[in-house]
C-alpha cells in the first residue's frame, strides 16, 4: 500500500500524458497522428501476441546475441588491456580509432561480409556495444585499489582465483556502468540494423508500416520499442541493485567514516 502511494506520482505523469495525447489525437485531423485509440488497437492486434513469434522474438534474439558477444569480448579484452601496461600502451590508439567509427556505417560492410542473414545484424550490434563495456572494464581494472592487489599477492592467491574473486568483483561497479550503456545501445542498433536488408523484426515492421501508410501500425511499433527499452533497463537496474549491494554499502560506510 505504501509502495503504491510512493509510486503514485510516477504513474500519474505517464497517465496524464496518455490522456492528453488521447484527447488531442481524437480530434486531430492529421493523417500522421492517428487517434490514440487506433494506435492502441493496432498495438493489441500486432503485439498481443500475433507478431511476437515472427518479429519480436527474432529481434530480441539478435539483440541479445550481439549484446552477449559485446559483453564477452569487452570484458575479456578489457581485463587484458587493463591489467598490462604494455598492452594498454600498444592498444590505446587503435581502440580510440575504432571506437570513433559510428557503428551504423559498418552495415554496408557487414552485409558484404556476412550476407543478409541475422549474422550481419548481430555483428553490427556487437561492434557498437563492445566499446562502453571495453572502456569501462579497462578503467575498472586499472582503478583497483593497490592495497587489494597487494593483499592478494601476500596471500599468494593464484591467477585464476585472483581474476574471478578479486579483479572482476573489484572492477564490477565500473563494468556494470558499461553494461548498462551497452544495453540501451544494443536496442538502438537492433532497430537500425533491421531497417536494412531485412524481412522481419520490430525495426523492419516500423519501416514497412510507414512505407505502406499503415500509420497506426508504425506508431504501435514505436510504442513497443519504448516499452521494451524501459523494461530492459528496469530489469538491468534491479539486477545491478542486487549484485552490487556490497558496493553501495561500502560506499555509504566510507562516506560516513570520512
Amino acid at each position: 500500500m505504501r509502495r503504491l502511494r510512493e509510486l503514485g506520482p510516477q504513474l500519474l505523469v505517464p497517465a496524464l500524458v496518455l490522456l492528453a495525447w488521447g484527447v488531442w489525437s481524437a480530434r486531430a485531423e492529421n493523417f500522421f497522428f492517428p487517434p490514440l485509440t487506433d494506435i492502441l488497437a493496432s498495438f493489441r492486434a500486432n503485439w498481443l501476441f500475433a507478431r511476437v513469434p515472427t518479429d519480436v522474438v527474432p529481434s530480441l534474439e539478435r539483440m541479445l546475441a550481439g549484446y552477449a558477444l559485446a559483453v564477452a569480448g569487452g570484458v575479456g579484452l578489457g581485463v587484458l588491456i587493463g591489467s598490462f601496461r604494455l598492452v594498454r600502451w600498444a592498444a590505446g590508439p587503435a581502440v580510440e580509432f575504432l571506437r570513433a567509427i559510428p557503428p551504423p556505417v559498418l552495415i554496408p560492410f557487414a552485409i558484404l561480409t556476412f550476407g543478409i542473414g541475422p549474422q550481419f545484424k548481430i555483428f553490427v550490434i556487437a561492434a557498437g556495444c563492445v566499446w562502453p563495456v571495453l572502456l569501462n572494464t579497462i578503467d575498472g581494472v586499472r582503478g583497483i585499489d593497490p592495497t587489494l592487489r597487494e593483499t592478494a599477492r601476500v596471500y599468494r592467491i593464484g591467477a585464476l582465483a585472483r581474476l574471478l574473486s578479486v579483479v572482476l568483483p573489484a572492477a564490477s561497479p565500473r563494468i556494470f556502468a558499461g553494461l548498462r550503456t551497452a544495453l540501451s545501445l544494443s536496442l538502438i542498433l537492433m532497430v537500425i540494423s533491421e531497417m536494412e536488408a531485412s524481412t522481419n523484426g520490430i525495426g523492419f515492421f516500423v519501416l514497412q508500416s510507414q512505407r505502406s501508410f499503415a500509420i497506426p501500425d508504425m506508431w504501435s511499433g514505436i510504442l513497443l520499442l519504448g516499452l521494451l527499452g524501459f523494461l530492459l533497463n528496469a530489469g538491468f537496474v534491479e539486477l545491478e541493485r542486487r549484485l552490487l549491494r556490497w558496493h553501495r554499502g561500502a560506499q555509504a560506510s566510507a562516506l560516513e567514516g570520512a
Binding site: T147, E150, T151, V154, R156, I157, P169, H247, G249, S253
Partner: protein, 254 residues
C-alpha cells in the same frame, strides 16, 4: 623461523631522479620475537616492510627466511595493512574474507572450517561471520584482518601501522588482543608503528630508524615484564625511561 635482513638498500627510480629510500639496513629476528620498528614519519618504514614481505624487490642486499632468499611473498608470512578498509574484500562476508587465503593451501574442508572459526573466535568476532566488513566499525574491521592473517597460520606476522587509524580506546584493546594472540599462536611479529608508547609497550626489541635515506639508528632492548598491562606496565619507571630514550633517538637526527 628466523628472519634476517642483510645490507638491504632500496632506491626508487634511477639516474637523476633516483630517490634513495633505504640506505642500508641489517638486522635479525629470532623465532617468536616481537620486534617493533619506529622512526620519523616518511622514513621508509613501509618500503622496508614491502621489501621484507617480497612485495617490492630490493635494490641491493637480501632478505632471508630460514636462510632462504625472499623474492616473492613467502608462504609462512602474513601481512596486516594499516588501511583495513582497503585490504578487506568488500564483496565478501567476514567469514569468506578469512577463508579466502586458505584456498591455496588445499586443506580439508573441516580443517579450514576449524581455522576460520578459531581465528575469528580469537579476535572476538564469532558473532559477525555473516556481516560484510563495511558493516563493522574500524577496530572490528582490523580484527577481521588479524583473524585472516592468523587463519593463514603464518610463522611471521608483518604489520604496517595496523592501529594507526583507530581511536585511542580501541587501539589499547587491539594492542592487548594482539599480545594475547601472539602468545597463543606462537608467531614472530614485525610491527611498524609511529607511536613510541606503543612500540615500548608491545615489543621485545625496538629498531629505531633514521630519517631518509634510512639506516638503523639504534636497537633498543625492552626488558619489561610480561604479560604487559596498559596501566601497570606504563607506570613502571623503566617504561618512562625507555620511552624517553627512544624519543630522543628519533629526534636526534631530525
Amino acid at each position: 623461523m628466523t628472519l634476517e635482513v642483510r645490507k638491504l638498500a632500496k632506491t626508487y627510480g634511477n639516474g637523476a631522479q633516483a630517490t634513495p629510500a633505504i640506505k642500508e639496513l641489517s638486522f635479525q629476528v629470532r623465532e617468536r620475537e616481537f620486534i617493533c620498528i619506529v622512526g620519523p614519519s616518511g622514513c621508509g618504514k613501509t618500503t622496508l616492510l614491502k621489501c621484507v614481505s617480497g612485495l617490492l624487490p630490493a635494490t641491493s642486499g637480501e632478505v632471508l627466511l630460514d636462510g632462504r632468499r625472499v623474492t616473492s611473498p613467502p608462504e609462512q608470512m602474513a601481512l596486516v595493512f594499516q588501511e583495513y578498509g582497503r585490504s578487506l574484500f568488500p564483496w565478501m562476508r567476514v567469514e569468506q574474507n578469512v577463508r579466502f587465503p586458505l584456498r591455496r593451501k588445499r586443506l580439508p574442508r573441516r580443517e579450514a572450517d576449524r581455522l576460520v572459526s578459531q581465528s575469528l573466535a580469537a579476535v572476538g568476532l564469532s558473532e559477525f561471520v555473516r556481516h560484510y566488513p563495511w558493516q563493522l566499525s574500524g577496530g572490528m574491521q582490523q580484527r577481521v584482518a588479524i583473524a585472516r592473517a592468523l587463519a593463514y597460520q603464518p610463522q611471521i606476522l608483518v604489520m604496517d601501522e595496523p592501529f594507526a587509524s583507530v581511536d585511542a580506546q580501541t587501539r589499547a584493546d587491539l594492542e592487548d588482543l594482539l599480545l594475547s594472540v601472539w602468545e597463543r599462536f606462537a608467531v614472530t611479529i614485525l610491527f611498524v608503528t609511529h607511536d613510541i608508547d606503543e612500540a615500548v609497550y608491545m615489543g621485545d626489541r625496538i629498531l629505531v630508524l633514521s630519517a631518509r635515506p634510512t639506516t638503523i639508528e639504534e636497537t633498543v632492548a625492552v626488558e619489561l615484564p610480561r604479560p604487559r598491562d596498559q596501566v601497570r606496565t606504563k607506570e613502571l619507571a623503566e617504561f618512562a625511561h625507555l620511552r624517553g630514550h627512544v624519543y630522543r633517538a628519533i629526534k636526534k637526527r631530525t
